[in-house]
């Protein structure tokens, strides 16, 4: 099973990313029956405040290792053909994609469940931290992520 994990400080266009990633996977042509995809995007509103910008910090080294491990664990629990995780760091603006998780498999159950598993683990354990800038220019660290189940 292929796994690609990328921490990116530049822009992320999830649909272009997926088109390019799939095009390179010529060996999987005809074998894939299902793709499960999640895209997390920056909203302009969070916890009763308007948000104008965001800074995303990570722990270089640990973040990549942790994401690789999540994907490997998903590959043990489900029948997967390929997995892609791309996560932004640095400065973001509202409406910009933050994270892309995509999983390819023969059958849809594996794609749905593995995609959600990876995303929930990423949200609860991968070392990323968000700092929001509000309309008045003040900044605040996001204190915790919401539960996904």
């Amino acid at each position: 099973m292929g796994v690609r994990v990328e921490i990116r400080s530049g822009a992320l266009s999830p649909w272009e990313e997926l088109a390019g990633h799939e095009q390179a996977k010529t060996k999987l042509k005809g074998r894939i029956g299902a793709a499960g995809v999640f895209v997390g995007t920056m909203r302009d509103f969070n916890e009763a405040s308007d948000v104008t910008a965001m800074h995303l910090e990570h722990y270089p080294g640990m973040t990549e290792t942790h994401l690789q491990r999540i994907c490997a664990e998903a590959g043990e629990r489900w029948e997967l053909l390929d997995t892609l995780v791309v996560h932004r760091v640095g400065d973001l603006l509202p409406a910009e994609p933050i994270v892309l998780v995509a999983v390819w498999s023969e059958h849809r159950k594996d794609a749905f469940e593995a995609c959600r598993f990876i995303m929930e683990d990423l949200k609860s354990k991968a070392p990323f931290w968000k700092k929001e800038t509000l309309t008045d220019g003040s900044t605040r660290w996001v204190e915790k992520n919401t539960a996904g189940y």
């Binding site: 942790h66 609860s124 070392p127 931290w129």
Partner: protein, 77 residues
């Protein structure tokens, strides 16, 4: 022995330090490293601890050369 210490995100701002090389006694836990590195500030209860980029608990013993990281709850995705 010497260990490398790192602080991230809001914790880095609270402690006022991104990283440091800390001299500590031969038998020490991650919590002891915090005390030596955080300038006497008590460790907040929700702090996460990683040694050599692996999650662990504050009572884990550290070895010379370990990288000991402290950070707040993660908020990625």
């Amino acid at each position: 022995m010497t260990v490398d210490v790192k602080f991230f995100a809001s914790l880095r701002e609270q402690v006022g330090c991104e990283g440091a090389s800390v001299e500590i006694g031969e038998v020490a836990t991650a919590a002891d490293v915090w005390l030596a590195a955080a300038g006497g500030k008590p460790m907040p209860p929700n702090v996460l601890v990683a040694v050599n980029m692996e999650y662990t608990d504050p009572n884990r013993e550290v070895k010379s050369g370990d990288e000991v990281a402290f950070f707040p709850p993660v908020t990625g995705g």
